[in-house]
Symmetry: C2
Subunit: 402 residues, 2 copies
């Protein structure tokens, strides 16, 4: 069986239906037996959910011990009532677990601007804390309780060794409708039993998020509730990592990146109504940041997404999107490849290779499509991911609250 | 009958099917009996259609006398072959009309990266120049020949007087699929019989485009083929306008803005599969540029568009989009109104007015929806427009070239 959060030393989880939503699970709790170091990355939206405001305060000392997450209500644009609700979430969980309320991470996801159901949440926390468990089912229930429009649970687990000590790292995530990433709430909660200093943990998380979640969810273009949080409780008892040169740091950084990319790709694969996963590689760009901007602009293009859904070998839409990224490059010197594991060249130094159209047309039937754009003007590179967009996506989002 | 291009003194038009497309009209010609002053605004995309490259050269002397426009092939990513094709378009029309080839404006719209059908276009120009007419039908045929996925012809006409001289101004436009405006090719061609100096004409056109076409099609985020061109042939024989203080300038500027807004709204109304026209007003923003950015970010939001299509009073999506515009404002002091001609308040100093939800729900059935966002922090204001997005849009764009 695939390992999950509960395979990290000291981590207990639970997820339950408490009545915010009609029938589906809507409350998740994650608890670490030991207080740990915490790092977090938050949304850049001007409007902030009350859960973001309180969690920013609670992580400011670099320590945390538990997570409480509700789905079904975003606690955004809820004013004083919502602020008190978020505080009650933290306070109630802290009381029930006998920990400091400043060690509680609070997260919410759901509809914006509806009164926060504080009483239901408080009651739900009290009822479900006793159910926290190290059984695998606890991690999976937690993962399912943070879902909104997600159609499947998103979990990941990686392991590695430092000086013979086994380190476990696992995470859960939610997010779908990444088709226009600036809206869909994206949450990820990662626990690890490594011992690492907080400032280094924060730097490492930020870098991993930039290569993973931020390549499906554009920087500064996020929902009011997005957060990625990692809690490291040190229970693996490795020699504490303090600098990038310390033993074990490189493998930790590498594994954290892999876990984040895994979760990010699960989110994209679950785009509302999506039928395909698309990977966009941009290489030989002026620099990495230019490559990132171009990769993200293509991956955000509605016309590219609909073409790929329709198995339409209309590669011109990819080129047009690349030219819209606001990056200066030589439009006369572009190579473009599209396909699956094997790709065919569609542009050679900006000249169409239209004899490859029949081959491309066949490849477009695949469930995973790869796009490789070579700008031939530098060493910058980046990868982004998206799903396709379908009629089902529109139907779904036309009826989300009603 | 509504007046059109042919009601401008000296302007003759024609539109025909020459065989680039299977059955629909695909060539438009507009001719001014007198050479005139010309001003133009072009796409900011890095990739440029061959038609943009040649037209930029031809307008550089500020003079022009004719337009030739084909639909069905964008002449983009077509290399040397396409460059020669665009040149042949200008050369052929110039020969047939006995004018300078540098006085010909060339435009193309259609699929990117397919060989340009030069022979068909050259033959088509020769065959259709003799049909140029001052009859109204000529203007309407030209307007229909520049359409791609458009479902209706887009024409506009305004008139005004300067010192007793009647001035006629008319235009045609094409564009649809403005749902993600950075892709859909947007073309507009305007003719006027006013006499005005070119530098002032260029400034006036740019300002009008910024308030109209650029509020449906984001600056720097345009297709490879976009252009708006105005030709003023002076045949009204008004005293030539040389400065902003000259008699008649203000009314010309005002009427040009109105004509551009009219054409821009027609484009939005014809969004592929669209069922609603939505107007987004942002007021009391830090400054006009901030207001523009916020209005455009909301109008680009896929989640807002799908909510409005679904008649879903999920106003939170509007707020979330506003917060994503990259503009700093106080999120605790926002007023939001939504409705039709009459609007209801949904946020009062950032507090939800959820008792208005039933009223809003009823209003959402209308074909024209208005959104008014008051940031209460300055004097900046802007208006943007979009359509909704429907399953039909996805079906359409999944099958555009295949």
């Amino acid at each position: 069986m695939i390992k999950n959060l509960t395979d990290v030393r000291g981590i207990k989880c639970w997820g339950a239906h408490i009545g915010i939503k009609k029938a589906k699970r809507d409350l998740a709790i994650i608890f670490s037996e030991k207080q740990g170091d915490v790092a977090a990355v938050f949304t850049q939206n001007v409007f902030l959910s009350e859960c973001i405001k309180i969690t920013k305060k609670h992580v400011s000392d670099g320590k945390a011990q538990a997570f409480v997450i509700n789905s079904g209500n975003a606690n955004t644009c809820t004013g004083e009532q919502g602020r008190k609700g978020a505080e009650m979430m933290a306070k109630t969980l802290a009381q029930e677990l006998n920990i400091k309320k400043e060690d509680v991470i609070v997260a919410s996801t759901g509809v914006v601007g509806r009164e926060f159901p504080t009483d239901i949440v408080v009651e739900g926390i009290k009822k479900n804390v006793p159910k926290l468990t190290k059984q695998k089912i606890g991690g999976s229930l937690a993962a399912s309780a943070i879902m909104t429009t997600d159609t499947f649970v998103k979990e990941g687990y990686v392991t590695f060794e430092i000086n013979g000590k086994k380190i476990n790292m696992a995470g859960i995530a939610k997010g779908s409708g990444m088709i226009h990433p600036n809206m869909a709430t994206m949450l990820a909660f990662i626990c690890c039993d490594i011992s690492i200093e907080q400032p280094l943990l924060q730097k490492t998380l930020k870098e991993a998020v930039d290569k993973s979640f931020n390549m499906i969810s554009v920087d500064g273009d996020t929902s009011t509730n997005d957060m990625v949080v990692i809690l490291c409780n040190g229970m693996a008892e490795n020699e504490r990592i303090k600098t990038e040169n310390d033993k074990g740091y490189k493998i930790f950084k590498d594994k954290l990146e892999k876990l984040c990319m895994h979760l990010a790709k699960l989110i994209v694969s679950d785009g509302e109504g999506a039928t395909k996963l698309i990977e966009y590689q941009v290489v030989d760009a002026p620099d990495d940041e230019s490559a990132r901007k171009i990769a993200r602009t293509i991956s955000n293009s509605l016309l590219v997404k609909t073409a790929i859904y329709g198995r339409d070998p209309n590669w011109g839409r990819i080129i047009v999107a690349a030219g819209n990224a606001g990056i200066d490059f030589d439009p006369e010197n572009i190579d473009l490849f599209i396909g699956t594991k094997k790709m065919v060249q569609m542009l050679n130094k900006s000249k169409p290779v239209n004899e490859n159209l029949p081959k491309l047309r066949k490849m477009m039937r695949a469930g995973e499509i790869k796009v490789l754009l070579n700008l031939n003007c530098g060493n910058g590179k980046a990868v982004a991911w998206s799903c396709d967009i379908t009629e089902e996506y529109v139907r779904f989002n036309a009826a989300y609250t009603t």
